[in-house]
């Protein structure tokens, strides 16, 4: 598909570094799927859908900075949704979120809760002000919080809140890769799903730029089961835009 024109209808400042951009266009969404967002004249980057008509973005580089310069009535081009999304299971679900990783996990919590799942969310961020979508996840289940600086909840990493993983039927995780690797090491891999971030070019499974040991993050993922990731370079290295290995 060619990029679809999406007009920004509202911009919400979620945290000092994270904003949600709502569009006039909705997408049929499986939580965990992503769209390619074209900031015309600048770049096109993959972003998780945080609502069926919105993306939630952290300002980290030139493309996201250009996006932050946009306001209501400005527009972007959108391709997607792409990828597989989370496999929503029944029963007790544990969501582990680091930073902007809450973007795909919040719609997952809402959808799974509506389908009858019992949700517990572990929400982590650098500091209290950076906790993302706390109200959204509190509205559908239990929430425990950790901050790196101790300004809210447990003083430390969100991974330190995991103490009873075996009590859950399924674990869903999104956040920085070293954090996700720690989660994988603490849980039963077959029962855990992780949403990966890689440098994505085509978004449609052709070019191979985003491959993790042969798995295409854009097409086979971005969500992978822990037992699949255990056999790969996940948490060890990634590829830069040239395809060179870079240690994580």
């Amino acid at each position: 598909m060619k990029p679809v024109n999406a007009v920004i209808t509202k911009v919400v400042e979620e945290t000092p570094t994270i904003r949600t951009f709502f569009f006039d266009t909705s997408f049929e969404l499986i939580p965990g799927q992503f769209v390619m967002v074209w900031i015309r004249g600048v770049d096109e980057v993959p972003m998780a859908l945080s609502y069926e008509n919105a993306i939630t973005v952290q300002k980290v580089g030139p493309a996201t900075s250009a996006l932050f310069d946009l306001d209501e009535c400005d527009s972007v081009g959108i391709r997607g949704p792409f990828g597989n999304g989370f496999d929503i299971k029944k029963g007790r679900m544990l969501l582990v979120s680091g930073g902007v990783g809450a973007a795909p996990l919040a719609p997952l919590a809402e959808k799974a809760s509506a389908a009858g799942a019992k949700i517990t969310t572990l929400l982590g961020a650098k500091t209290k002000d950076e906790l993302l979508f706390r109200k959204r996840v509190e509205a559908v289940g239990d929430v425990r919080v950790a901050t790196d600086d101790g300004s809210e909840g447990k003083h430390g990493y969100v991974t330190q809140l995991i103490d009873d993983a075996k009590n859950y039927d399924q674990i869903y995780c999104c956040g920085p890769e070293p954090m996700m690797k720690k989660v994988l090491d603490k849980v039963t891999p077959e029962k855990a799903q992780f949403s990966l971030h890689r440098y994505i070019k085509c978004g449609i499974g052709i070019c191979g730029a985003c491959c993790v040991d042969g798995l295409r993050v854009c097409k086979d993922g971005p969500v992978f089961s822990g037992d699949v990731l255990n056999r790969t370079e996940f948490g060890v290295y990634r590829r830069n835009e040239c395809g060179e290995k870079v240690k994580i």
Binding site: K2, W38, C207, E241, G243
Partner: protein, 296 residues
């Protein structure tokens, strides 16, 4: 039934993963091999690491694909391990390479170990590389000759359709000692976003692949088959077994599959089994359909 020897390489079938498709990592090449490919071609590899053009670098347009990746690659100095890993897939691994001069091509071919080399003198959107090199018969002959001197592995030359007469470029490659030509690379193309007037690709223009270019490729293969002594490997818009058979009837000894791999990684084994069934039903061998359109 589908086995063949192509430029000295033994292939279990004539279906090859095209360059630039899942070809940057050993793991993804190995996966294509496991999906039934008779051989795999790597992403084009150059002298220095290159990040390529800015995104969007590939979009679906109508029933085809428009891309301007910009030759992103980790350089040959970081690539031998990927080839070695790809070889665990059990099929020949062909290194696609590019350079701005004969010296650059031969430096890479002289340093990498691969089952064959495919010279990318046909990428339509890389300044100073690709088609800018491959539109000049004298340069194509010189580059081919220098690579032949640098390696004992078979050398394939991938041609651009964006020339007045593709046969003259094919003949130049043959004079340079090429073991085969590969036709075609993408067709120069462009798409514009009518909401804003922006060209969609980061590079503004790029190359078209997929089903829209198949008839263009068939004609190029047909012409090259007539003009050349060396084998022609057909590529451009193959998405099912019928397309593959058509290319072989036009004169392709083998074919490469690219864009269609995105939706079906097992396309190689799917096409193999359908081709076998078709040949059995027709009571034909692979050799019978090779160049058939020229013989009737």
């Amino acid at each position: 039934m589908l086995t063949l020897t192509l430029t000295g390489l033994k292939l279990k079938n004539p279906l090859i993963l095209a360059a630039g498709i899942m070809g940057t990592t050993g793991g993804s090449l190995k996966r294509a091999a496991k999906g039934g490919a008779g051989a795999v071609v790597t992403k084009s590899i150059g002298i220095e690491p290159k990040s390529g053009h800015s995104n969007p670098s590939m979009v679906e347009v109508d029933c085809s694909y428009l891309n301007a990746m910009g030759l992103p690659n980790p350089s040959y100095k970081n690539f031998q391990k990927e080839i070695d890993l790809a070889r665990e897939g059990g099929v020949p691994v062909i290194a696609s390479i590019f350079g701005a001069s004969a010296d650059e091509f031969s430096e890479i071919a002289g340093s990498l170990r691969a089952d064959a080399f495919e010279l990318n003198v046909s990428c339509p959107h890389a300044c100073g590389y690709g088609a800018q090199v491959g539109s000049d018969p004298a340069l194509v002959e010189e580059i081919t000759k220098s690579v032949k001197n640098a390696t004992s592995a078979p050398v394939w030359v991938k041609l651009t359709p964006n020339v007045t007469d593709i046969k003259s470029i094919g003949l130049a490659a043959q004079r340079g000692g090429a073991d085969a030509v590969v036709a075609i690379n993408t067709v120069r193309a462009m798409a514009i976003d009518i909401e804003s007037g922006y060209p969609i690709l980061g590079n503004k223009f790029g190359g078209l692949s997929g089903c829209a270019i198949k008839p263009v490729a068939i004609k190029c293969v047909y012409d090259l088959y007539e003009a050349l002594e060396i084998p022609v490997i057909g590529v451009g818009g193959i998405s099912d077994w019928k397309d593959a058979v058509e290319f072989m009837m036009a004169g392709a000894r083998a074919v490469q599959i690219g864009s269609a791999v995105g939706n079906n990684l097992n396309i190689f084994s799917d096409i193999s089994s359908c081709m076998e069934a078709f040949l059995e039903e027709k009571e034909w061998a692979l050799d019978d359909i090779y160049g058939m359109a020229h013989k009737i």
